[in-house]
Symmetry: C2
Subunit: 441 residues, 2 copies
Amino acid sequence: MSEVIFRGGTILTVGADHRVLAGDVATRDGLIVHVGGPYTPTGRDYDVLDCSGCVVMPGLVQSHVHLCQTLARGRADDLELLDWLRTIVWPYEAALDPAALGAGARLACAELLLGGTTAVLDMATVRHTDAVFEAAAVSGLRATIGKAMMDEPDPAIPAGLRETTQASLDEADRLHKKWHGALGGRLRAAYAPRFVLSCTDDLLREVGRLARERGVVVHTHASENRDELALVRRRFGKDNIAVLRDFGLTGRHVCIAHCIHLSDDEKAILAATGTHVLHCPSSNLKLASGICDVPALLDAGVSVSIGADGAPCNNNLDGFLELRLAALLHKPRHGSRALPAPQAVRLATLGGAAALGLADRIGSLEIGKRGDVIAVDVGGPHVAPTASPWSAIAYAARASDVRHVAVDGAVVVRDRTLLTLDVGKVVSEARAAADRIFAKL
Amino acid sequence: MSEVIFRGGTILTVGADHRVLAGDVATRDGLIVHVGGPYTPTGRDYDVLDCSGCVVMPGLVQSHVHLCQTLARGRADDLELLDWLRTIVWPYEAALDPAALGAGARLACAELLLGGTTAVLDMATVRHTDAVFEAAAVSGLRATIGKAMMDEPDPAIPAGLRETTQASLDEADRLHKKWHGALGGRLRAAYAPRFVLSCTDDLLREVGRLARERGVVVHTHASENRDELALVRRRFGKDNIAVLRDFGLTGRHVCIAHCIHLSDDEKAILAATGTHVLHCPSSNLKLASGICDVPALLDAGVSVSIGADGAPCNNNLDGFLELRLAALLHKPRHGSRALPAPQAVRLATLGGAAALGLADRIGSLEIGKRGDVIAVDVGGPHVAPTASPWSAIAYAARASDVRHVAVDGAVVVRDRTLLTLDVGKVVSEARAAADRIFAKL
């Protein structure tokens, strides 16, 4: 019986009533058993983490990342989406072998965990997705991962990424059998049709059917870029969300990144079906895509969560940066009270958990939930004096303030040091792999 | 003869040709004497800073900050400008005594220097401005500071901030005599009429005359908020920039924060007169003020630089956050090529130097300039692999990556430790002062 005690912090439960407590948070055998007030361990096998001067809160949940793209950080600046995909990101993904993919994914996992992100919804590339699962497995990150599905015979897609409909479905099936529910449920498989333009009608329809039948998360992109919208309308005669709905790809198990350019009808479909919108503010700015109208979506009853997207369009995987930007970005349009700090923190934690279909297991500090807990030092000169822990976390704290991180009650970051991977080695392997891959391109 | 050697980094000179060099940057007696390639010290009194894995570059220059407001961090969220001033910030400023003001300003200086900001243009509050100069003096920060001038008999201004026209001018005069050019020119005094609504016509006219006569920087705010604009039009029958011009408050010595809502005529005045715009992207989002159209201003030939504004409207004083946000924020409107990384880095360094009237002394690494130099570790898992040092600095690096900082060739941060102030003591004094001041309110 193993216990972990986050001792003596200010606790943001992110529960229904947004309580702020003082004291300890404890996990036993991976589950949260105590929140607030002093905790006395029940056995001898326990670990105490000093959280004095810290906010203790649920780990950040990023609902849209691409761990496979990390080696391309800084290689694809100053482009819009379709050029960015066609000239850099797809050729890069096509050039990846399992070793390079693993090196990039381990780098991503190191950045995510050190920065307080404990769970992600990830879209991998077309091939070698086992390497991404293996990186998440060894790092300690909670991850729901889908291989990118791209069976549309589009000449803009490099040969290395093309696949047949059946091969795409078979590979997703193989990954599902191998990884879904692995490591006590820490790893799960998703279906990830990249976006409707990269998929055939047959694939979209079949994914819609299988995902519903198997209760598996679907992860895709839509309505990110105006050129994309025009191509969707040309091919389907309707807008993205209607296309997805008609293939059975809406619902509480469906997660759609971006959703910047939506009609009122599309918003209504998202709300009515419980489909999740994955908001990626830095990426949407950097690719000049636009600003997703998050307050309007929330008002319409749409479930919204936050993600950093990939390193070549951000250029970080930093949950705190995205949380802060999400909290700031919508105020000019909707007023200074839009997305106040507690709501923004909620999107970045429980919102992500809901997108992953895990709101009953992670995303808040409640007894019986999994022990995905972080301690954030709010004593730095850029955060103090801390008038409100909500404000400190939403507007002032940085990823580098994260002191301790546990996933499933296992301590993976202690005193700002990652315990599961040698970060120096991860960085040097990633550099070597990036040099090797880009030398080929 | 004292030498400081930043050894073995990747050097961004931010000079005219945007050169990237390898090797050392060296200062002697406060001046840069060497940029690129190996440096051999000429005497025995030298200090070597290991910059392996770092980008070595000019310190960030923030052209709009309020060191006096730091104790109100997290106390004034979710408000728009005029409410923010009237309900929180002005009463807070009015309650400050020299001890509290000094505690807040030292906290700000610690944050700024640890985060790689080496020079600021600061607007203090109405009284006790010596405490801000003293904080900058002891911390090692290069600072141009002006007392806030607010002689308009506006009942919304608390009694503690009201002053007569003559008292305002006299105090600015006293501060100028005492501090302008102090510490080898590291400290300078500015005129800081807060905004036209807080000043009488007489004050504005007299500041216009005196600043020009004495060659002193003028630091003010304008066109931040639509309610402000309406009040300006009601009082003066014209827009902010025209009001300032007609009082003699435009020119290469004049620095205007925000400039979000400008007519084409106002843009033309700014360009023709060489008046500087101080862009504060986080603050402008958080106060729901809007987005200053920086690419349009740059295209029109206006000088633009970057600042964090104050802790209660940001909530950091983090030059890297502002640089990154400035680089991202304008792309949806102007395309993904707007403000590419080298241009954004330039605004955050040489742009700020130009606003301060110090472009011949700081803002780039060139022989003969003052030794304001920073080393930024780009080996972290959130920055690596570093395809381009420009991209790494603009899009991926954080304030917490700053390893070494020198101002005027004096090392003030070494291996991420501030040498001039005890940060723990600064934070606890700031907390105590904040508690004391807000207990009064």
